[in-house]
Symmetry: C2
Subunit: 387 residues, 2 copies
């Protein structure tokens, strides 16, 4: 049972809400966590949020790894090299060392994606990572990927995204054979652009549960479990949906306060309207999961509250426990081609069947110095997890 | 003052609603029209909708060109060759002969776009056509193009779409220098996929009023007048927006009838709620205009009512009178490159500076037989417009 590593300095309300979320995740969901950030500050917040009052096991599951550096909200790909001691970089190293199973951050999506892609590397056989988001469809959510990690994709990558999405939906939605749709224009197989036409052919020939083309109209219809797109298209669709919902909710509020009788009506409906706007609020479904790397990376919404952080930690833990990485490996099976980004530290590459534990990081010894022994949290000592 | 040619057999409610719309366009907006379709049927409907009661000028502006053939809703690109006597094919010939200035159809978008692109050909210098739609933004509408005519576009085509959209917005929105945005992911110039990064560079160097990148979030924000995208991306964005609004309105209605007090509230708000759902109903802003051809093609919504048809006829007439084609020509100016689809009948290609009037169609003499003399409408004879 590997702990989840939590970036305490990512997000608009870091570190306060993040640490509060960590305490809630430990208390309510029993998630073991490594908190990365300024140790003194984190220790003080843990005390404030009552981590000392947690039961033995929950409290024992909270440890701290110190660093003073973090990514700013505006920082992107370059920062991953410029700041080797950032919270995200350290968190990735903990996963590579086999000390943690997944990562949670509410930092800038671009920064988290770029840094973790560079540091965790893609899984053996995976060409590019994909960002998965969960849409608020009824009766059950739909997974959309890629929401922006890989802007220029090839047909083969879309097929891999379908495999990643399938493995993710198996854990996240609890569906054994998720139905996969391809986001394109026109419902018939021959419709779309060159990329999606070719991807359609490949998906139809794959062992996946491919349900055909999905149009923009159907994004929120819940007709499939996984919707596949290149990162450019997926991001446009996601943000268009979010922007449209925001406008619709805004216009609704405006309409309902435009006359005295309408205002009176709104008072009568406040419970229903609140539930509606809440469902369409991207904070409640926001964030994404970066798939295809050697470790699941949960990117929480920048404005995430303690509750959202706790939910993200729970999801990361479920993905780690659900053996996301192994599921993807199984899916790709014998058909997996060597990754363009394969490096020596992949166990598979060394013919070593063992899991992530004990990977070599001799190539970056300067980082190891930063990974300190867990700092005891306020009242209880964590068990020696050797991080 | 060239008439607008109207496909009487396109759309779910053709020919009844289409002919009713023609009468309304003539009566309310003074639009001169050529009605293409089964002459006997059209004549009967014109009588039914009171075309005989129109004043002299309006009645004189209505003429009929007979054909029995039309495109079915499912028919696409091939039908344009398979059916040389379809209402759309005949309408295109009328424009090529200089007998009409623009075309209106409520037929299937794919069929109308494919047929008119093949028959009208792209304007001299234009590589590909683009479908423009008008989004219901506040305080004024935004033009989005391409909404699906050209799925695989090159950066140079996106720049041409920006020129087409600018010319269209000048007439449609009455703005002299419309602000143009590029639909992509990420607000900064360096963000996007390869296509939009290159297009950004070209747009920034163009004489257009380029306002930079637009994200999916901003589609309905009204921050620019024209939003440029390739046909794949534009279609995904448009349909995602439409689908999301449909879900939002549906959920709103469901929420407001989920309890007795909420229902009572809705009664108090019925005026406001009606205005809101009406604004978000794609029927009220639906349809698009195919730009870049030798004649504007207005594609009305398939479910268009008489009112929507009348509005489409008015728009087509405005585009013709606003000299859309000449505006595009002026915009491209000396920088225009020879079109890959240039044919001998372009006046420019023959060094003939004159407008569309009197173009040669000797290449397809079989069609000419179908273009009959206008059939006199019920009471008044049209002036000899020689169609």
């Amino acid at each position: 049972m590997l702990p989840v590593v939590l970036d305490c300095m990512g997000g608009d309300h870091a570190p306060r809400e993040v640490v509060a979320g960590a305490v809630a995740a430990a208390r309510d969901h029993g998630v073991p966590l490594i908190l990365v950030g300024p140790a003194r500050r984190i220790r003080a917040l843990l005390a404030e949020y009552g981590a000392g009052d947690l039961g033995g096991r929950a409290a024992a599951g909270l440890s701290i790894v110190h660093t003073d550096e973090s990514l700013e909200m505006g920082e992107g790909a370059l920062a991953s090299w410029r700041k080797p001691r950032s919270t995200i970089a350290i968190a990735c190293e903990l996963i590579k060392h086999g000390k943690a199973g997944a990562l949670v951050s509410a930092g800038s999506t671009a920064g988290v994606v770029a840094t973790s892609a560079v540091r965790l590397k893609t899984q053996h056989g995976i060409l590019r990572p994909a960002l998965a988001v969960t849409l608020p469809t009824i009766p059950r959510p739909t997974v959309l990927l890629d929401a922006g990690a890989t802007a220029d994709a090839k047909p083969e990558m879309l097929v891999q995204f379908a495999h990643l999405g399938t493995a993710f939906a198996q854990i996240r939605l609890g569906i054994e054979r998720p139905r996969v749709g391809l986001l394109t224009i026109g419902a018939e197989p021959g419709k779309g652009n060159k990329l999606t036409k070719k991807a359609h052919e490949l998906l139809a020939a794959s062992p996946l549960e491919f349900a055909g083309n999905i149009e923009g109209h159907d994004l929120l219809r819940g007709s499939v479990d996984v919707i596949v797109a290149d990162g450019f298209t997926g991001n446009i669709a996601l943000k268009t949906m979010e922007g449209t919902l925001r406008v619709a909710v805004g216009e609704l509020k405006r309409a309902l306060s435009s006359s005295r009788t309408a205002k009176l009506g709104a008072v009568l409906q406040r419970r229903e309207l609140h539930a509606l706007t809440d469902r369409f609020d991207s904070d409640t479904y926001g964030g994404g999961v970066l798939l295809g790397l050697n470790g699941a990376v949960v990117v929480a919404h920048g404005a995430a509250t303690a509750k959202a952080i706790a939910a993200a930690c729970k999801l990361a833990f479920d993905l780690s426990e659900g053996r996301l990485i192994d599921r993807v490996k199984d899916q790709l099976g014998a058909a997996a081609k060597p990754s363009r980004f394969r490096f020596g530290h992949h166990p598979e590459a060394k013919g070593d069947g063992k899991a992530v534990e004990g990977r070599s990081t001799e190539t970056r010894p300067d980082l190891r110095a930063e990974i300190r022994e867990p700092v005891p949290e306020p009242r209880e000592q964590p068990p020696g997890d050797g991080a």
